[in-house]
Amino acid sequence: MNCKVAVEFIHQYLDGELEGNQHEQLKSHLNQCDSCMKTYEQYERTDALAKYTLQSSIVSERSTADATKLRQSILAQLPTKHQTKSKARFVRWLYRYPGLTAAAVFIAVMIVSLFASWDQDSKLIISASQDDLQHVVIQGNTIIVPEGIELTGDLVVENGIVEVKGAVSGNVTVIDGKMVLASTGHIAGQSKVIDQALDWFWYKVTSSFNEVIPQ
C-alpha cells in the first residue's frame, strides 16, 4: 500500500466506512510508515477536538430564557390556517400523486372532447380525398358516386345518404345515415353504417388507431 491510498483509508476509517480486511491493510501500513501514522493521529485529534469544541461550548452559551423567548415568538408568528380540511387534504393528495393527477386530467379532457364532437349537430359532413370529391355528386343530403366513376380512397359521410353506383376502392363509412348500393356499384374495402353512440365511439377509437399505426 502506498501512502496516498493509506491517507484515503484513514479518512474512511474515521468516517466509519472502512470494511473488513481493509482495517488490516491500513494497520500494517501504519506500523511501517511513521509519516502516515502521524497523519492518522493528527486527523483523529482534529476530529475529536472539533467535535468536543462544537458540541460543548454551544450548550453553555444559551440560557433557557432565550429558548423560551424564541419558542414564544415562533408560535406567535404562525399564521392561522383558514383552509378547509378537505381542501387541504385534496391538495395534498394532488401533490403526492402528480402522475395520477395528470392522467386523470388527460382522460377527462379526452372524454369531454369525444362527447362534444359526437353531440355536435346534424350537418352533412363528407370526408374523402380531394380528387375523389370532384367526382362525387351531392343532391340535398344525398351523396352519389356516379356510374363509371372509381373513387381511389376512403369515403366517410356523416348525417347523409350514400348511393354508390360506381366503384370505391377504399372503405365507405356512413354515420347517422343510410347507404344504398346500386347493382352497378362496387366497394372494394369495408362498408359500415354507424348509428349508435357505442358504435360511433368504437369507430373513433379504431380509426384513430389506424391513423397512428399505418397498415
Partner: protein, 188 residues
C-alpha cells in the same frame, strides 16, 4: 421514520398548535446550534430558526413521509443559512468610517449584544482556534463539517439534507478535515 415525529406532523396538519409546539421544542436547540455555528451571530441564528419553523408550518402538507422529518427540517435550515452567507458576500470593514453618517464607524451601527460575548467564555486557546478554523472554512465545506461534528449525522444523512450524492459529501469531509488539520497542525 420517527413515530413520534410523524404523529406530531399529522396532528399539526390538522391544526393542532400544541403538536407543532412540541416539534419546536424538539428541534429549536439543534437548529439554533447549527445556525449559530454557520453564521457566528446570535441574532441571525435566531432569525434562521424562526424562519425555518415558519416554513415548516406553511409547507406541512407538502412534507412527504418517505423523508425523515429531521432531514427535511435540517434541509430547510441549512438552505436558509447558506442563503444568508451568500448575501453577506460584500464584506464591509467595521473600522471604515461610514460615508453616510459622519463620525460613525461600523461598530456603532451593530445592535449591541449585552450577553456574554464568546470571547469572555472560558474557552481554551485551542478551542478558540478551532472556532476560527471552522469559521474560515469555505461555505460548502463548513455546512458539511458542522452537520457532521455537531449532530454526528451519518454521511448518508448529510447527503440527504444537502441533496447531494454521498460520494460528494465524502470528498468534502476529507478535504474539510485536511483543512482543519493544517490550521491546527502545530497544536496537535
Amino acid at each position: 421514520m420517527n413515530l413520534l415525529e410523524s404523529q406530531l406532523v399529522k396532528l399539526a396538519l390538522k391544526g393542532d398548535q400544541a403538536a407543532f409546539a412540541e416539534l419546536v421544542d424538539l428541534y429549536q436547540e439543534k437548529l439554533y446550534h447549527m445556525a449559530y455555528r454557520m453564521l457566528n451571530n446570535r441574532q441571525e441564528a435566531e432569525d434562521v430558526v424562526q424562519d425555518t419553523f415558519l416554513r415548516v408550518y406553511n409547507n406541512l402538507e407538502r412534507y412527504i413521509d418517505t423523508m425523515k422529518f429531521s432531514t427535511w427540517i435540517y434541509r430547510i435550515a441549512t438552505n436558509l443559512c447558506i442563503d444568508r452567507l451568500r448575501k453577506r458576500k460584500p464584506i464591509y470593514s467595521l473600522d471604515a468610517e461610514s460615508s453616510e453618517y459622519e463620525g460613525l464607524d461600523g461598530y456603532s451601527m451593530i445592535p449591541s449584544d449585552n450577553r456574554t460575548p464568546e470571547s469572555e467564555l472560558l474557552l481554551s486557546e485551542t478551542q478558540r482556534i478551532i472556532h476560527q478554523a471552522i469559521d474560515s472554512l469555505p461555505p460548502k465545506y463548513k455546512t458539511v463539517m458542522i452537520l457532521r461534528y455537531i449532530h454526528e449525522l451519518s454521511l448518508q444523512e448529510v447527503g440527504d439534507i444537502l441533496d447531494m450524492p454521498v460520494t460528494t459529501i465524502k470528498t468534502r469531509v476529507h478535504r474539510g478535515r485536511e483543512f482543519l488539520r493544517k490550521k491546527l497542525e502545530y497544536r496537535l
